[in-house]
Subunit: 344 residues, 2 copies
Amino acid sequence: MSQAPLLLRVLSGETTQRPPVWFMRQAGRHLPEYRALRAKAPDFVSFCLNPEMAAEATLQPMRRYPFDASIVFADILLIPKALGQDVRFETGEGPRLGALPSIESMRERTADAGAALAVVGETLARVREALEPERALIGFCGAPWTVATYMLDGEGREDRASARRFAYERPEQVDALLDVLVEASAHYLAMQARSGAQALKIFESWAEGLPDQLFERLVIRPHAKLVARLRELGVETPLIGFPRGAAASAEKYAAAVPVQAVALDTACPLEVGKRVQAKVAIQGALDPLLLRAGGPELDARVEELIEAWGKGPYVFNLGHGILPDTPIPHVEQVLKRITGAGSR
Amino acid sequence: MSQAPLLLRVLSGETTQRPPVWFMRQAGRHLPEYRALRAKAPDFVSFCLNPEMAAEATLQPMRRYPFDASIVFADILLIPKALGQDVRFETGEGPRLGALPSIESMRERTADAGAALAVVGETLARVREALEPERALIGFCGAPWTVATYMLDGEGREDRASARRFAYERPEQVDALLDVLVEASAHYLAMQARSGAQALKIFESWAEGLPDQLFERLVIRPHAKLVARLRELGVETPLIGFPRGAAASAEKYAAAVPVQAVALDTACPLEVGKRVQAKVAIQGALDPLLLRAGGPELDARVEELIEAWGKGPYVFNLGHGILPDTPIPHVEQVLKRITGAGSR
């Protein structure tokens, strides 16, 4: 096959005969082989930073399922770590971050963020080496605001209230932190592109709940800066932006941030997706809870998504990460419907 | 003054010279007089069900501030209580609900839900008696799905995942529960209208995260049924629907549910609000975190909202409840800008 991987064709604006498919968190706890591998590492950060283990985790779903794309196994909180903030994952508790370093000390580290996380590049290189050429490899980072919410909160609270409060009450500090994160993320993504990533995804997991002016300031502006900075650094890799929880602002986002695809979340209405697709490729948005539930309703929704969005450039995916207790046959059921085969 | 209260004029489709204004949770913990009153009741449910105390709580912000409307002090979880489910509020923990009664036993109680909660009617009557005629009195209920999430979860978890899971995995049970809640809420709201409520608000606090088919099934359909049932019961009172967290579906909601106003949340973009306003009156959507932060940015956003939405039928409000640690001068700052006076 001389053609580019299906995912890359869609990211270049092509409408393909069937959508390429991959699932957020496809590498992870829903797979017994992942749980066995993960048990061998002392903690989650060590696991992410071990290229052999992280590459193996990345490849596990690719061996089992006919996914069209692979996403490097890593975590959005490696960036704060590279900037000098302590990051720990307490079992069953989520992340806990140490005191926020000074803006100055973090700014000094931004240009080296790629080098500091070179192990992620090594993971990518190993995966690219092992993966068939028709299957694409995706790199990623957390978007500046999402990473900032963890850095400011010290942990992952559901409503991000204290980070949003800071955004109002200490705007200079928050904007300076976002600029640091833009710069560090640009170098981190550039390193990933050099190491074999063929597409890069920017995960804005906490775009929800933001009024117009904050969405503009905390999401659109930093994403646009990050894209511009990447292009300045010579990175031509296609980009997927994921402003999760902000379906009402997805069109505005697509118009303002020059990404090649906008990923849509579970709650994005079909008609909103179509309007976004008039501008760029889209990705999404099967409900992980429906995937877990399975049954004929799952088939019906898969059909509905393909019917509504498959007539334009479309990457089939979930609207949020796959749930750890998702039955493997349900994943196979969806993949069979899309690719003709549930497993490899 | 012979004119109808400003709120009711807007709910009849009129564009008023300035928007009427009230704040979600205006009666509550941000007021020292509320905290003193609340301390006199043994627990939150007893407080809500004591008409003297609840009326006093309702009236406290009306004495202090020039709000155009008052909303009865009550709780959305009085309905499960009226249907026979145990409801407790643990201090600092949120609500805890007992085992879900059988659908049959709850169905038998629906017609009496108004009578079972007659104390809320007594609160309304007391408030209506004390309130100036140019200030409107609002009654409310939780929307069926939102109330169902608490009844199914047994508590208020952030992501409603187990309730959404039930919606997929036990659709008959969830749909039957929604029907019971539609019927009970219709009788409850009808009783409130008879007791002096001049507008009724349906709070869908958990409309977020729902894909098309669930939004249709869990939000639009039960709301439309509830409105139809209220009209069948002879209630002509104007209705405000609040599908919180679903700004991307607000237009669809406004087209499908015949309410007189749609309340919009903090994250609703200005342009989406304008599109909804082409169909019905709108209410919202100042960020409570910005109200708490105060300063010139608060003034700027108030101006922006009035500029964008004040040219059509518009009720000024927050996009979510006022936060307990909101400084009173910030509330006065907003009210002064809108009504010309910060306090009474």
